[in-house]
Amino acid sequence: MSIEVRLPYLGDVGEIKVVSVLKGPGDRVEAKEPLLEVEAEKTVYVIEAPNGGVVERVLVSEGQKVSPGDLLMLIRSE
């Protein structure tokens, strides 16, 4: 089954931008492994894998603006 990775609420921050996409489709990831990094308020925030599995889809790219709740990645759990 596919697990959605969404951008969490970071507080009342201004613009949030994707600064690194660390995993691509087909990559195997462990639970808690870094998947992406976003930046807001001079802060790089690491988004981790909620569970182990294989990255199915990446829905954002570096430089893209995102909002809390946005779907970032899909991971197929095993």
Partner: protein, 214 residues
């Protein structure tokens, strides 16, 4: 809260300490610590930074200023002796903080600290950090990994401001930098600033220093 005072440190050496403490805190939040240091002259380029914001590379080389690319948020910044650098390595969840409120807390600690020295500093909406007019006196750059913070704040106390002339600080054109020394017209006792800033920070975090390490 452990206070780890590194004295005058090389940026990358201090970064190793940060990462070690970060791993400890991810494992066990009771190991939280505040690292305090001053760095040897260095330009650090953050995740969204650009090398092109170091506008006078030749002067930087001539004066022996190191250049380091790092994983914090923000653009180019200068660290050097006379600037108080504080890296709290803490669990945001434990302190019921989010990114927004943590950045505001670090700003507040700096505003209150310079206030004790009769300097009126404030926030500038959309520009994290602490400002005296349109000049930045205190900067912030952070990383949150596994819910635990890395990097922190830098407050210009007696900083050599000339070293900011070779960069576009924070990637912001048309804004300046200042220091407590520049605002007051005399050098300021770094030991006193350090102690006031740590007090304000601990107070805002609602914790006490329990242990000191060299």
């Amino acid at each position: 809260m452990r206070i780890i005072d590194l004295g005058l440190s090389r940026y990358l050496e201090a970064l190793k300490v940060q990462r070690r403490v970060h791993r400890e805190v991810v494992e066990d939040p009771s190991r939280e610590a505040i690292i305090v240091t001053e760095h040897y002259p260095v330009y650090t380029i953050g995740k969204s930074g650009s090398m092109s914001n170091i506008t006078n590379l030749e002067a930087a080389r001539r004066e022996g200023i190191e250049i380091v690319n790092i994983d914090r948020g923000g653009d180019v910044f200068y660290h050097g002796p006379g600037q108080l650098v504080v890296y709290p390595i803490i669990s945001l969840e434990k302190h019921k903080l989010d990114v927004w409120s943590y950045v505001r807390l670090l700003e507040e600690a700096m505003i209150r600290t310079v206030g004790e020295f009769s300097i009126r500093a404030s926030r500038l909406k959309g520009y994290p950090g602490v400002w005296v007019g349109r000049k930045k006196i205190g900067a912030i750059g952070l990383k949150i990994d596994s819910g635990v913070t890395l990097h922190g704040l830098a407050l210009n106390v007696n900083t050599n401001l000339r070293h900011f002339d070779y960069i576009v600080a924070c990637g912001l054109h048309g804004m300046g930098v200042t220091s407590m020394e520049a605002e007051l017209g005399h050098r300021v006792d770094m030991g006193r600033v350090r102690s006031v800033l740590l007090d304000k920070l601990l107070e805002l975090l609602g914790v006490e220093a329990v242990e000191a390490e060299g």
